[in-house]
């Protein structure tokens, strides 16, 4: 009896000594070095195998004091008549900018269009023209898009902080509202 008890205790001790640390740090998620977020049937996540980086051309900078501009990758996709002086500027969604700034911006884009090398207006091509060469057209479009400077926003850090603080205030107000609702429900 005693021998059996001792034998059991010995096996137990050996098992304990051999057991690796059961640290939660390494046990969460998937194998080390390969984080794999859950994938739903219609969810696309951005975590894909790294691909060779392509050199990106520097986008055009445009600053007009505290205003900001959307810098477009392919200016030919947006026809010049659209860049009219009445195109809206961006402060709280309302168009309160003086016309001179917008005219200057429109003039800037028109000047840039004249300076850039002519490109075929592939975005304006009809469906027939697109479908006939098929994959070749798409490959050309992809290559052209990869050479275009990325769309960006010319916004000062000052404005960025302003909108960030507005967002924080909104979040806190919503949190306060939720807390009030919770207290009302608990009080019933």
């Amino acid at each position: 009896m005693r021998l059996r008890l001792l034998l059991s205790a010995g096996v137990l001790l050996v098992a304990l000594l051999r057991c690796p640390p059961c640290g939660a740090l390494l046990s969460r998620g998937s194998a080390p070095g390969a984080p794999q977020p859950p994938r739903g049937p219609h969810t696309l996540d951005f975590f894909q195998p790294e691909q060779p980086q392509q050199p990106q051309p520097r986008p055009v900078l445009l600053r007009m004091g505290e205003e900001y501009f959307l810098r477009l990758g392919n200016l030919h996709k947006s026809p010049a008549p659209r860049m009219s002086p009445d195109s809206s500027a961006l402060a709280g969604g309302s168009d309160n900018r003086p016309g001179s700034h917008q005219a200057a911006a429109a003039n800037f884009f028109r000047a840039l269009l004249q300076q850039l090398p002519p490109r075929p207006l592939d975005s304006r091509a009809g469906p027939a023209e697109r479908s006939a060469p098929g994959g070749h057209q798409e490959a050309l479009e992809r290559e052209r898009r990869s050479e275009e400077p990325p769309i960006s926003l010319d916004l000062t850090f000052h404005l960025l902080r302003e909108v960030l603080e507005m967002a924080r205030a909104e979040q806190l107000a919503q949190q306060a509202h939720s807390n009030r609702k919770l207290m009302e429900i608990i009080g019933k």
Binding site: F46, Q48, F69, S78, P79, L90, G92, A167
Partner: protein, 322 residues
């Protein structure tokens, strides 16, 4: 076999099975299923679950830091619009298209960018993001509703959109999902405390604070270099492969910022540095061989501190750019 020995044998077998890892599985299941509302009764849960999601109109220039449903409707041609999304450091952002009514052929567009891009500078930088720049844009006019839900790789994302026709627009639902090991983060606040952990991953992670701040690093663990003590400090952090660097600059891209300090060797006590730049980044470079961790606190610099050139500060680089 005597029954007592059988019982002991079974006990040992159960114990061994538990030690093999089943306990970790149970721990994970408990963590996933943890619901603080279990403290309350089922009626309370139903009342809270019935609450409508937060809704409001989206502005042409907007910043969102909470989940909900947001609708943009053009009342006039809106040609230069963008909306920023930012979550807590330990959150991903999921953007779901509920309804999109734009004229792609007429020049409208709606693009999601994985990260933030400002004046051509991206966060995370190209070096720290798994995708090339152009693949970080998801264009609705190209992909349509095939890619209806898009999740970011970090706690920030943004959309660019243009709508010509009044009445056209779109509705998005924003959700925040949990991220156990946040890597690239932009802080919502100029003050706070954070621990950046990179467990056995060969990647570089940045924590960005878009304010001039004083940073105090209180704990640094680089693989087997536990704590802040090392017998033989290396000549160069680059030789180590795992280190923390402090960056300062006037843009968003950490790869274009000025390195202010490298930390891979021991020092006594917390290290504080005042960085009077528009953007301050704590960046951890990890080889993947170790578990690296750095804990730091940060607070916004007062205007008087920005003018003061004494102490451990490097104002010249950033203030000249202001």
């Amino acid at each position: 076999m005597p029954p007592n020995f059988k019982l002991q044998g079974h006990f040992i077998l159960i114990f061994l099975a538990a030690l093999r890892g089943e306990s970790r599985y149970l721990e994970m299941q408990e963590a996933v299923g943890y619901d603080p509302l279990l403290l309350f009764n089922a009626n309370l849960k139903r009342d809270l679950a019935g609450e409508q999601p937060y809704r409001r109109a989206l502005r042409c220039l907007d910043m969102l830091s909470l989940p909900g449903q947001f609708t943009f409707t053009a009342d006039q041609p809106q040609l230069h619009c963008a909306a920023f999304f930012i979550g807590e450091p330990q959150e991903f952002i999921t953007i779901h298209y509920d309804l999109v009514s734009i004229d792609c052929q007429g020049g409208d567009f709606l693009k999601v960018f994985d990260g933030w891009i400002l004046k051509g500078e991206k966060f995370p930088s190209s070096q720290d993001h798994p995708l090339p720049t152009m693949e970080r844009y998801i264009d609705f006019c190209e992909s349509g509703l095939i890619r209806r839900s898009i999740r970011s790789s970090q706690n920030v994302a943004m959309i660019f959109f243009r709508v010509h026709e009044p009445g056209n627009g779109f509705t998005l639902t924003i959700k925040m999902d949990s991220n156990l090991f946040p890597c690239n983060v932009i802080s919502q606040t100029p003050n706070g405390r954070f621990t950046l952990v990179v467990p056995h991953q060969h990647r570089n992670c940045s924590f960005s604070i878009i304010y001039p701040v004083a940073i105090k690093i209180s704990d640094l663990t680089l693989g087997h270099f536990h704590g802040l003590h090392l017998k033989r400090p290396p000549a160069d952090c680059g030789e180590i492969g795992d280190f923390v660097e402090l960056l300062g600059g006037t843009g968003l891209d950490p790869s274009k910022m000025m390195p202010l300090a490298d930390l891979c060797y021991p020092f006594h006590g917390p290290a504080q540095m005042k960085i009077g730049c528009d953007n301050t980044v704590v960046r951890m470079v990890s080889s993947g061989k170790h578990i690296n961790r750095v804990t730091f606190e940060y607070r916004q610099l007062e205007p008087s501190e920005l003018e003061n050139e004494n102490g451990n500060s490097i104002p010249e680089f950033c203030l000249l750019s202001l």
